[in-house]
């Protein structure tokens, strides 16, 4: 039987890569001693399929993976708790469900994602000017063409990402911090929030990116592969301690 697992990636662990997550999950599966099915061949690996890669440095409330079990009597709720126990701080399973036979893979099924993008200003604080966000979003949505130049495998590639942008608006986090909320298609090519940043003429390195939803459209209407409910184990982001005092200690340079 197959289980679909929804998990989140928050806090310091946002800086590990998609590949790193795969390795963490494999180890967590072994730690939890789950009866996972293994691939055949010389180098058997647990049969786990991962969904759309999340850019390194981005947080997410909606990551997915599918695990193939060798047994059919798996307690789905217990799987979530035991996996979370073996994952690093910040990676937590929020929902698990049995996957009906014949369900499309995550890679095939997900049509778009919702992203929240905060912007750090040069002085390391978040930009708080709500009007600036609204204005920038409006301008971009009004454009017929949004040409982005990026480097891909050493070559310079230029293309129009406007067709990939389903929606872009200015919103606010619960604490009032203004953010961009972007709905980005995954077809024909999944554009990265960083490319949106380039289009908005923002310093890419200073974006605070969080994926909040992945959408599938089995009947036309957008829905999450697994919706959270009251039984979901949603955790708050780990709290990072703040600086207490700042003094001029720093490298002098050779």
């Amino acid at each position: 039987m197959k289980l679909r697992i929804r998990f989140q990636k928050l806090g310091k662990v946002r800086w590990i890569s998609h590949r790193d997550i795969a390795r963490c999950v494999e180890r967590a599966v072994r730690r939890a001693n789950l009866p996972v099915a293994y691939s055949e061949g010389f180098s058997p690996r647990p049969r786990i399929s991962f969904g759309l890669a999340l850019p390194t440095g981005a947080e997410s409330l909606a990551e997915y993976l599918d695990i193939d079990f060798a047994a059919n009597d798996v307690d789905t709720d217990a799987v979530g708790a035991s996996l979370s126990g073996g994952l690093p701080v910040g990676l937590d399973v929020t929902k698990t469900a049995v996957l009906p036979v014949g369900t499309a893979s995550l890679q095939e099924a997900v049509v778009s994602c919702r992203w929240e993008i905060g912007v750090f200003a040069a002085n390391d604080g978040l930009i708080h000017d709500t009007a600036w966000f609204a204005d920038a979003a409006q301008k971009l949505m009004a454009a017929d063409e949004v040409v982005v130049t990026r480097e891909r495998k050493g070559a310079i590639v230029t293309d129009d990402i406007r067709p990939n942008i389903a929606a872009l608006s200015a919103e606010a986090r619960p604490d009032g911090t203004p953010i961009f909320a972007a709905q980005l298609h995954t077809f024909p090519r999944g554009i990265r929030p960083a490319e949106l940043g380039i289009a908005l003429d923002l310093p890419v390195a200073r974006l605070d990116v969080r994926r909040t939803h992945q959408w599938i459209a089995p009947d036309g209407a957008l829905t999450e592969p697994l919706e959270l409910d009251e039984r979901s184990n949603q955790c708050l982001p780990p709290i990072t301690p703040q600086p207490l005092a700042v003094v001029g200690v720093g490298p002098t340079g050779p």
């Binding site: 310091k12 390795r23 963490c24 967590a28 072994r30 690093p88 390195a205 600086p243 200690v249 490298p251």
Partner: protein, 650 residues
């Protein structure tokens, strides 16, 4: 001085601009996030190389756990930031930080460096500087952390004497608690003069405080090394733990979130080695042999696999196949139902014989791609000189066993530039490779043999410490000679290390205190990560030598003489100087020396001097082949090793 409690927000602001940001976040399973009270003695354990290289280091992890288990003591870790991160840190005024709480390095009481390789020395300076601490020990104030270092390289601490406040020689398990106690007393006393705490630290056995010694030179030689005070030891002897079984560490091996070298469970099965390979510093300085009890090994493996989720374990030591009952221990792990058939076991430094390949075959049922052996030299003559007494029959039977059991690639490690080496010895490497490739083709068309050669760097505290290292051009000539010969061989490849790097390593390995100025100069000119070929430039080293009036001839290339004061003479590795010298003379006479686990003691000093002994479960050599002793132990027959009459071997 007040420090930021955490630099995390400022560190995180840099991470989108660097490769591999996961190097800088910590969060590993097994990491301890300490809490700090005013009376906490805090250690920052620094591995002065990249995170991927440093994280698996077992020595650092053992001390990390021991310190965090000690009341009112905290230990965090740090690794050398890669050049992209360093640039970001310097541009933004972010100092070196710990990974657990991202505290500034200068907020710790001690910066403790692990020195496993000499080419990281410039990184040590860079890390001290990035911490915002004066690079030279003499310039530090009482508010600055104490800078210390341990690890194999500290058996010649002199090249770093100007930068490190104190060195710890030998096993660290016991001595760190004693150091912590002295530093605690200093803190409680108001952290007054640094000289006070250093003087107190010098009273601890195994602790060397270089500023308490005067070195007088006579040209390029050393005239004398003498302590400045009567109560400071004239020679600092290494610390040795008698019973490895009393230290079942690490109990919580760190599990990184990102890929590192040796990314698997590591369990140390013994420390020390009595094979007596004359080039091997590790084998000389870690004597005697101390085996971990088999039951404890199995327990550590089973607990470790369960806790970490790894599916691979390495049983580490300098020669793991020599562990008493290795077959039973390995079998026990593989047959453990908790391992559910998915666990693979690996043994580093495979001994060269069919017996060892048999064990390797049992444990590596899948993924049989490559197997590595280290004959180290191409001819029996040369192997007698270096006391790596592997016969050609040993090697061919091992290689035959490997290919017959399904391996398709055999890698052979060799040293080049060994004492007395001739072109015939160099070409002997090609001959071995040719025979091995032939053996391989009998089993599979896909057979390949890779010969990997590294330039030999003589190390302190070994019989070869007197040997004049072979120069760069001559080493290169020998490599080309070998390359031409290897080209003719079907199914064989040659890989080699840059001989230029061997010269820099030689300078750092056997230099005296004057080499400190060179290391500083190389660092100031941007020479960090010198063991990484993309960062290494020999010219920086040669220019620095020149600037400071030092010649590689004096410090590296010349043969040293008996009676001259070696820069590390006041550091005791437990080996009698007579033993080392006689062994050097035996080497020149092409005479081997058997393993003292299975033959009578030849009094090297390691046991007798320290009142400790080998801790082995069996005094009988494991079965098969010559055991690398050159003797036909399997049949109990003749002893082909030529032994000099001067040795008390019955």
């Amino acid at each position: 001085m007040t420090h930021e409690a955490t630099l995390w927000p400022r560190v995180e602001a840099l991470l989108a601009n660097v490769q591999k940001p996961a190097r800088y976040i910590g969060c590993e399973d097994g990491a301890v996030v300490p809490s700090y009270e005013p009376d906490t003695v805090s250690w920052l354990l620094v591995y002065p190389d990249t995170y991927e290289v440093g994280l698996p280091n077992q020595g650092l992890q053992i001390l990390y756990e021991l310190l965090n288990e000690t009341p009112a003591t905290a230990a965090e870790r740090s690794y050398a930031p890669w050049t992209d991160m360093e640039q970001q840190m310097r541009a933004n005024g972010v100092p070196l930080f710990s990974l657990e709480t991202h505290r500034p390095a200068a907020a710790f009481d001690l910066l403790a460096f692990n020195l496993s390789a000499e080419l990281v020395y410039t990184n040590l300076l860079n890390c001290i500087d990035l911490a915002g601490v004066p690079v030279r020990a003499a310039d530090r104030s009482p508010a600055d952390p104490l800078v210390c270092a341990g690890g194999h390289c500290t058996f010649n601490p002199e090249p770093l004497a100007d930068f490190v406040d104190f060195f710890v020689i030998g096993d660290g398990e016991e001595v760190i608690a004693e150091i912590t106690a002295v530093v605690r007393a200093w803190k409680e006393g108001g952290r007054a003069d640094r000289a006070d705490v250093l003087r107190a630290l010098a009273g601890i056995s195994g602790v060397y405080v270089p500023s308490l010694y005067d070195v007088v030179y006579d040209g390029h030689l050393i005239a004398s090394v003498a302590p400045r005070h009567a109560d400071v030891a004239t020679r600092v002897d290494k610390r040795t733990i008698a019973d490895l079984g009393a230290w079942p560490y690490p109990k919580n091996q760190l599990v990184p979130l990102t890929e590192v070298v040796h990314d698997r469970l590591n369990v140390e099965i013994f420390r020390g080695c009595t094979r007596g390979c004359r080039f091997c510093q590790a084998g000389m300085i870690t004597r005697p042999v101390r085996e971990r009890p088999a039951a404890q090994v199995r327990q550590m493996v089973s607990d470790g696999l369960k806790r970490t989720g790894y599916d691979e374990v390495t049983l580490t030591s300098l020669s793991s196949a020599d562990y008493s009952g290795i077959k039973e221990v390995v079998g026990g792990i593989i047959d453990d139902p908790a391992c559910s058939g998915q666990v693979s076991v690996s043994l580093p430094s495979l001994r060269v014989d069919a017996f060892t390949v048999g064990i390797a075959g049992e444990i590596q049922k899948v993924r049989r791609t490559g197997l590595t052996f280290a004959p180290e030299a191409g001819t029996w003559r040369m192997r007698q000189v270096i006391n790596k007494l592997i016969t050609e029959e040993d090697l061919y039977s091992a290689v035959d066993a490997a290919f017959s059991q399904g391996w398709r690639r055999v890698k052979l490690y060799f040293l080049i530039g060994l004492p007395t080496e001739t072109d015939d010895d160099v070409l002997g490497i090609a001959e071995l490779a040719r025979r091995c490739a032939e053996i391989g083709r009998r089993h599979t068309k896909a057979a390949t043999v890779v010969a990997s050669v590294g330039g030999f760097v003589p190390k302190p505290q070994t019989p070869f410490q007197w040997f004049g290292q072979v120069g760069v051009e001559e080493l290169q000539r020998r490599i080309w000679l070998l390359k031409d010969e290897m080209k003719k061989i079907k199914g064989a490849q040659l890989k080699w290390h840059d001989p230029k790097a061997s010269l820099a390593e030689g300078l750092a390995s056997r230099g005296d205190r004057r080499m400190g100025a060179v290391i500083e100069e190389v660092w100031r000119n941007g020479g960090v990560f010198q063991e990484w070929s993309e960062c290494f430039q020999l010219d920086r080293w040669l220019a620095a030598m020149d600037k400071h009036g030092l010649s590689p001839d004096d410090h590296v290339f010349r043969h040293r003489e008996r009676g001259e004061i070696l820069p590390w003479a006041h550091i005791g590795a437990g080996l009698h100087e007579d033993f080392l010298w006689d062994d050097w003379q035996d080497a020149l006479a092409e005479a081997g020396l058997p393993d003292c686990r299975w033959t009578p003691c030849y009094d090297c000093g390691a046991c007798t001097e320290f009142g400790i002994e080998h801790v082995v479960a069996s005094n009988v050599p494991p079965a098969g082949g010559s055991q690398g002793t050159g003797q036909d132990l399997a049949s109990g027959g003749e002893v082909p090793v030529k032994l000099l009459a001067t040795r008390a071997v019955s």
